[in-house]
Amino acid sequence: MEGLSASEQREFQSRMERKQMKEFMGMFSNLVTHCFDSCVDNFTTKSLVQRETDCVSRCVQKFMAGSERIGQRFQEQQAQMMNQSPTGR
């Protein structure tokens, strides 16, 4: 990263934004798939029943909470790894 010129940084930034959007999309579709798979198993009705809707809500809430906690641990590890590395990265 440090070796990039200003214009390279800008191009990199703009790609990162697109990538972030893509990441968000991927997270969204994984979340939908995971909570659907975990909460919906009854196909005698066409729409979600209350029990399923509640399960999906808790699933999303728990996923977000878990994701945040894992994110914290991950950042600590990244920071630790950069300090250990001989080149300072």
Binding site: S14, E17, R18, Q20, M21, K22, F24, M25, G26, F28, S29, L31, V32, T33, C35, F36, D37, C39, V40, D41, F43, T44, T45, K46, S47, L48, E52, T53, V56, S57, V60, Q61, M64
Partner: protein
């Protein structure tokens, strides 16, 4: 991502194409996920016959409908969370109502 369009008066060609492409990608991804999820829920893996029987067909229809409901519900919850956190950013996900 450049909320309100400030700072970038006009999106470039490349940016507009990238945005249209991303919308297509999301739709394709969602279709693939729906298909995987509902084949898994509705089609037994023994493959004793090649046709979709009546029960399997009905299951697929309801499964697709419920998958769609979950999609809407998750979208709603994420938007509520973003609104609670980021204030003005609510609705910023905004790809075709998702």
């Amino acid at each position: 991502m450049s909320m309100f369009g400030l700072g970038r008066p006009q999106p470039s060609s490349a940016e507009k194409i990238a945005a249209a492409e991303q919308e297509m990608d999301l739709i394709t991804d969602m279709f693939n996920k729906l298909q995987q999820a509902c084949m898994k829920k509705c089609i037994p893996r023994e493959y004793r016959e090649g046709e979709i029987n009546k029960a399997e067909g009905v299951c697929i229809d309801r499964c697709a409908s419920k998958f769609f409901d979950v999609q809407m519900k998750v979208s709603e919850l994420l938007q509520a969370e973003a609104a609670a956190k980021g204030g003005a950013a609510g609705g910023g996900f905004g790809i075709g109502g998702m």
